[in-house]
Amino acid sequence: MRWLQDPILDVQHLTMRFGGLVAVNDLSFQAGRGDITALIGPNGAGKTTVFNCITGFYKPSEGMVALRKPDGSHLLLERLPGYDINWKGKVARTFQNIRLFSGMTVLENLLVAQHNPLMIASGFTFLGILGIGGYRKAEKEAIEKAKYWLEKARLMHRADDPAGDLPYGDQRRLEIARAMCTDPLLLCLDEPAAGLNPRESLELNELLLSIRKDNGTSILLIEHDMSVVMQISDHVVVLDYGTKISDGAPVEVRNDPKVIAAYLGVADEEVEKVEAEIGA
């Protein structure tokens, strides 16, 4: 299995407790470099919590989250301060409930994403305010990069509109474009297809596949929409009540009785009966 040979992300014994509630329980999985890995599970399974642990919004109660850089070096994400996970760790994410800078234009959203390189180019503001140094050039390049992603996300015509004015599907794509403007090695998407119509969902699949192909970014994806998961993912990890119940290629997972049981909400003994009924 590819993801075991060359993982970009290695999660080991991850546990997250909220008081008495164990949201994630001793979870271990790998995401392969260049793969689209899907993390699925019923509502409240703990998927978003896993994302929050990986991207530094929660400090895991136990466990390790290691990012393997292309040169083979390891970075332990749970030890980095939250903002460094994007800048040093090169992990970007989107949110289940879209978080755009709604009062800023689409272009501004994409420039905020390039904050750190631009900050260096502006000499941490000191040179930029005096108008010396290479800030102008750096900003031009940043706008070029933003344009590249606007083109890819099909948002070019809305570049100067406030992000809050965009329709829902556009907002989802803008959030992905914004995350991609940080040049991530790993892109974590929390339910990117939620609320999209079938056509938009198809466009999203294309966008994700092209991100992987053209930019070499690995993708970790939470998704409820099984058609998306089955079509584009290389590897699926299934969570239920914070515990991993299945892990493998999409076809294997689809036929895993435990997964079917978790999704249909039946007891283990009844799984075989259910399987027979749905002809799996």
Partner: protein, 470 residues
């Protein structure tokens, strides 16, 4: 919390509701009852003294009249809010999802003409006043007023960085004004440093105190942040009062060296400004110099803010105001970003403070009480958070307005000679605030101007821009 702009049923209903007479009458009656309740302890009895005895004079007639007025006004308000004009003036959820029009917005209207106009008036102000008043000494009052207004414009612009751009509600801004003023006062009286050396030092010291305030409050949001900054402002004031050895306590520091024209003092004698330039000595030379000094300082504040908005740090401030969590996910160090906002805002407060000290020649803790912070914040909120020109207009209205009241002496002819319009300034201030919140809840100029454009400049409706506060 961050749902996209989906029109919710509740909002639409609230906007399109028709005038409901029964409900309005009921609500007006309730309001009148509240007024009655309030009147009983305040209005219903008047204490009259005759000799050594106190008499309670009942005034139920007055209470009845007041309650009737409240009832009537509440009814009118209901009728008004239901009217079309109100519906148009109130930003509705419908407007928020409307495509942005290509036609120029209020912001563009204002900025196209207002900015050159205001700048021109500000530059020529002493000349205009001189011509109107027909003499240097006669124009003193107006130039002083101009200086006062410009000081508040500068303070408003400085606070605008913290509140308007970074979205951090700061109720203790006057503390930095005080730090700047005392820095100049102490440095110049103790070490004899000149104003031009003290000015940057005062700015740096205030910025330093901005960081000191910033560290403990970084984890706080919203109301808690506001309360801690409020306390910080009071702490600074109390330290100034009680650290008598350093600050001379409540008595303040006097005989602070006056401003010089780049080293040439404004004195009548040998080597003074008037003699050097071959003019007849007049005390107004110094006042006019101070006017241009504060104008330049204010314009520098404005220029730096406009520049910062186009730099990554400025965009990060605004992004922080919009969504702090998204900022963190994009690798922005939110701690440092907030600290720079506090520090830079405080620095301009410090500049303004040292100007205050050099103008007055005297500083005391009295000048730096909470009301000052409140007025500066009111200027920012009224102007429209983040809008530079809006803040300038608000400063003129809020600081210049009360001065106009002082001059409305003709009203005495109507209301009798005991009438002093100036006594009503806080009442009018409050009424003005309420009116603003009804008509323009996002301030005079609520549109946000994008910091960068690809093809076409479109102003961003205020209803999309978040207020931040934490």
């Amino acid at each position: 919390m961050n749902a996209p702009s989906i029109t919710t049923a509740g909002q639409t209903q609230a906007v399109t509701r028709a005038f409901d007479l029964g409900a309005a009458l009921k609500d007006s009656l309730k309001t009148a009852l509240i007024m009655l309740g309030l009147s009983i302890p305040i209005l219903a009895y008047k204490t009259d003294q005759s000799g050594a005895d106190l008499f309670l004079t009942p005034r139920w007639g007055l209470v009845a009249i007041i309650c009737a007025i409240v009832f009537g006004m509440r009814l009118v308000l209901h009728a008004f809010t239901a009217s079309r004009a109100y519906r148009q003036a109130t930003p509705s959820s419908h407007q928020a999802t409307e495509p942005v029009h290509a036609e120029p917005s209020a912001f563009q209207h204002v900025s196209k003409f207002a900015i050159p106009f205001f700048l021109g008036v500000a530059l020529c102000f002493p000349v205009i006043i001189y011509l109107i008043q027909g003499g240097l000494n006669e124009s003193r009052y107006w130039v002083d007023l101009g200086i006062l207004i410009l000081t508040y414009v500068m303070l408003g612009w400085g606070l605008n960085i913290v509140v308007g751009l970074a979205g951090l509600l700061d109720l203790g801004y006057v503390a930095f004004y005080a730090v700047g003023a005392y820095s100049y006062a102490l440095l110049s009286t103790t070490f004899g440093l000149s104003f031009w050396i003290c000015l940057p030092l005062a700015g740096i010291l205030a910025a330093f105190w901005g960081m000191i305030l910033g560290f403990p409050v970084l984890r706080l949001r919203g109301d808690y942040l506001a309360i801690v900054t409020l306390a910080f402002g009071e702490i600074v004031r109390l330290v100034l009062i009680n650290w008598v050895d350093l600050t001379n306590g409540g008595a303040g520091i006097s005989s602070i060296p006056r401003a010089t024209f780049f080293g040439i003092p404004f004195t009548a004698g040998e080597g003074g400004f008037a003699q050097t330039f071959g003019l007849e000595f007049n005390g107004m030379h110094r006042i006019i110099f101070l006017y241009y000094l504060i104008l330049v300082l204010a314009l520098i504040t404005n220029f730096v803010t406009m520049r910062l908005r186009k730099l990554p740090v400025g965009r990060a401030w605004e992004a922080l105001r919009e969504d702090e969590i998204a900022c963190r996910s994009l690798g922005i160090n939110t701690t440092n970003t907030k600290l720079t906002a506090f520090a830079i805002g405080a620095m301009f407060g410090g500049f303004a403070g040292s100007f205050f000290a050099v103008r007055q020649g005297f500083v005391s803790p009295e000048s730096f009480n909470f009301l000052e912070s409140a007025i500066i914040l009111a200027i920012v909120v009224l102007g429209g958070m983040g809008s530079q020109i809006g803040v300038a207009i608000a400063a003129i209205v809020l600081v210049g307005g009360p001065e106009i009241l002082r001059n409305l002496t003709f009203l005495q002819a109507i209301f009798g000679s005991g009438f002093d319009p100036n006594e009503y300034r806080l009442l009018l201030f409050g009424a003005g605030m309420v009116a603003m919140m009804v008509w323009r809840p996002r301030g005079l100029i609520s549109e946000r101007e994008p910091s960068v454009i690809l093809k076409e400049r479109k102003a961003i409706s205020g209803s999309l821009v978040k207020e931040g506060h934490g």
